[in-house]
């Protein structure tokens, strides 16, 4: 046993000596492997980030057992309607969905049908603007807002400003020569909602001033108006249904989030809702779309890596062939001394694997560095990807990178190794 360990140790020593000698020789031709591994690490991180990004934006408030129901003509989950009319989900549809077997809680985004003006004092000037008002239940915010339980009507109505609305507001402000306002400046900002219960042209209109305050901002709600607790809208509508010329009903459904009691029933329920003429989206469907998009990314990356791989293998093959030629004297002498062919092949392949592992390590760290670089610079190049946070690999890809590189290197070295094993000193000496 001890003799065997000594034997292993000695052989390892001679192998490592060769590796150290050959590192520089194989460095140039093995650049490909470094690139390949770096690209792989980059690609896998990018893929992961894209997946998380898509998941994060689309599933931010969506659970696996939830279905988003939108009016038929609206875009994918969007309630944006600039200038035009917002599509609605008729109340009878909501009742019918509620009646479907297996449907649990239904959370809704509702739209107040009464015209409402936002009134706020800013820099000594008063701003008044008609703006749609939507209602959501606090449960909508449970993932994105720590204070979601406080999002309930009180003396002052809490208001959430969608990012999109903030931008529109700032554009308006700019047009009127007012300075732009960021989120920080607007946090807790007081305002008044002036709600008119009759249509704008009606001869007799009642107006109600409702104090409100900016509660927060949201990038997830794709809405074109202010967002208040839905309780406030429903109660207000109930209280003022009898006003002269009051619009009825006082609110409509803009979007529903239907919770399914058992996830297994989701596809069936989803089909049922679709048959009511409504648009339906669930995590499962989004996941399918995401996977399609990722398949395209994967496909093109695989083609690139395939070409890289091919060139790398050729380069390594070539470099090892040179090494075999340079070491032909040693190999043939080893044959004379009694090293078997199999052993020469194994040793050579083992050395190649060690060198490959080393280059894999280098490639990995270059890839990680590239991720760090892209993390800082990509949002400047491609502003759309601002929300995409590239995550540096925390070491999980390291074994893959090193192992793959070692494998690649040793496979490429195999044929040269066979050549090496057939070296014949009697020919080498005779020349």
């Amino acid at each position: 046993m001890k003799a065997f360990l000594i034997y292993i140790g000695r052989n390892l020593y001679f192998s490592l000596r060769e590796v150290v000698r050959n590192i520089l020789r194989s460095l140039l031709s093995s650049f490909g492997i470094i690139f390949l591994i770096a690209f792989l690490v980059l690609y896998l991180s990018l893929r992961q980030s894209i997946k998380e990004y898509i998941g994060g934006t689309l599933f931010g408030t969506l659970d696996i057992n939830e279905i988003v129901v939108s009016p038929p003509a609206s875009g994918a989950g969007a309630l944006v309607s600039i200038g035009g009319r917002t599509e609605k989900i008729a109340p009878d549809r909501v009742r019918r969905i509620r009646a479907i077997n297996g449907v649990g809680e239904i959370n809704s985004i509702i739209r107040m049908e009464y015209p409402a003006k936002v009134k706020l004092e800013m820099f000594g000037r008063s701003v008044r603007e008609y703006m749609p008002v939507y209602g959501i239940s606090p449960a909508f915010l449970r993932k994105s807002e720590k204070r979601w339980r406080q999002f309930v009507p009180g003396d002052e109505i809490p208001v959430i400003v969608p990012k999109f609305v903030l931008d529109v507001f700032n554009n308006l402000a700019a047009a009127r020569g007012l300075p732009q306002l960021g989120e920080k400046a607007l946090w807790g900002f007081p305002m008044e909602l002036v709600i008119e219960t009759a249509a704008r042209g009606a001869p007799e209109r009642k107006k109600y001033d409702q104090p409100a305050r900016v509660f927060g901002f949201s990038a997830e709600l794709p809405l074109t108006g202010l967002v208040v607790p839905s309780d406030f809208i429903t109660k207000f509508a109930a209280a003022h249904a009898g006003d002269p010329g009051a619009i009825r009903p006082g609110f409509s459904y803009a979007q529903l989030v239907v919770t399914v009691k058992d996830v297994k029933d989701l596809p069936v329920i989803s089909k049922n809702i679709q048959s009511l003429g409504l648009k339906v989206e669930s995590q499962q469907e989004i996941a399918a779309k995401t996977n399609k998009a990722l398949a395209v990314i994967d496909g093109s990356s695989l083609v690139i890596m395939g070409i890289f791989l091919f060139l790398t293998v050729i380069a390594i093959f070539n470099s090892y062939l040179t090494i075999v030629y340079n070491r032909s004297y040693t190999f043939s002498l080893q044959r004379v001394i009694g090293v078997s062919k199999v052993r020469i092949i194994l040793t050579f392949v083992f050395e190649a694997a060690l060198i490959g592992a080393l280059f894999g390590l280098i490639g990995y760290y270059i890839g990680v560095m590239a991720i760090g670089y892209l993390k800082h610079n990509m949002p400047h190049w491609v502003p759309v990807l601002k929300g995409l946070t590239l995550s540096r690999d925390s070491g999980g890809l390291l074994p893959l990178a090193v192992g793959l590189s070692a494998l690649l290197s040793s496979v490429s070295a195999f044929i040269p190794a066979v050549f090496a094993s057939n070296m014949n000193l009697f020919r080498a000496v005779q020349k």
Partner: protein
């Protein structure tokens, strides 16, 4: 053809026998129906002009080259039937090589060069003692940690002989071992071979041009026009000197 079997029963199997070996490169026949035997404790000289096929013959004996036909029988077994693994082990344990150009590994010290054939086999034991013994035996103490490039021809060849015998082989195959040495170094190597023959019972097959080597041999073969012929010594004095 029975070779160097002095004082032995004629029907006792030889250590090594080459039987009807033929070899060619392309259409050129290098060896034609070559047969001879090698006995333990003997020096066999193989002569022939340059290109006659001496190196080829040593390559075939060691199992590094395949002949067109014939048998190479070692201790009753035809080594040509063996697979590479067995032939490699045969070369490692039973044969030692010495070459005209010494063929040491340039990036290893004398010590490592001598060591090298032994590390191939996991069964090698007491390596340090063996090397130490050989170093004393061949007087290599002073050059043990020098690299081949810093050694003289004679020193290199002595290191090469040490490497050839580290695994205590039964046969040494030497391809023009004195061809690149000055007279004194050549004599050193020759007396070393005689010592190994006499003290260790080794058989030494030497391909050579050198007349002194031929004179030191117990048996002399010459290759001419692909055929091997035994040359009887001109005087019988040599034989009586060996007759102990």
């Amino acid at each position: 053809m029975r070779g160097a079997g002095r004082g032995k029963a004629v029907d006792e199997p030889a250590l090594l026998s080459i039987e009807g070996v033929s070899a060619s490169f392309g259409k050129r026949r290098i060896l034609d129906d070559v047969s001879f035997t090698v006995e333990p404790s003997s020096i066999v000289a193989v002569t022939g002009r340059s290109g006659a096929g001496k190196t080829t013959l040593l390559g075939i004996i060691s199992g590094l080259m395949k002949p067109d036909g014939g048998r190479v029988v070692y201790k009753g077994q035809n080594i040509l039937k063996w697979g590479d693994f067995k032939r490699s082990r045969f070369r490692n344990r039973e044969i030692g090589f010495v070459f005209q150009f010494f063929n040491l590994l340039p990036d290893m010290t004398s010590y490592q060069n001598i060591f090298y054939p032994a590390i191939i086999s996991p069964r090698s034991r007491n390596l340090k003692e063996k090397v130490d013994y050989l170093v004393g035996y061949l007087g290599l103490e002073k050059i043990l940690h020098q690299y081949p490039a810093t050694l003289s021809g004679g020193e290199r060849q002595r290191v090469a002989v040490a490497r050839a015998i580290i695994n205590n082989p039964r046969i040494i195959l030497a391809d023009e071992p004195t061809g690149n040495l000055d007279e004194r170094s050549a004599n050193d190597i020759l007396s070393l071979f005689k010592k190994l023959r006499d003290e260790n019972g080794m058989a030494i097959v030497i391909a050579t041009h050198d007349s002194r080597t031929v004179a030191s041999a117990d048996v002399h073969f010459n290759i001419d026009d692909a055929r091997l012929q035994r040359i009887e010594p001109p005087e019988r004095r040599k034989k009586s000197r060996r007759g102990r």
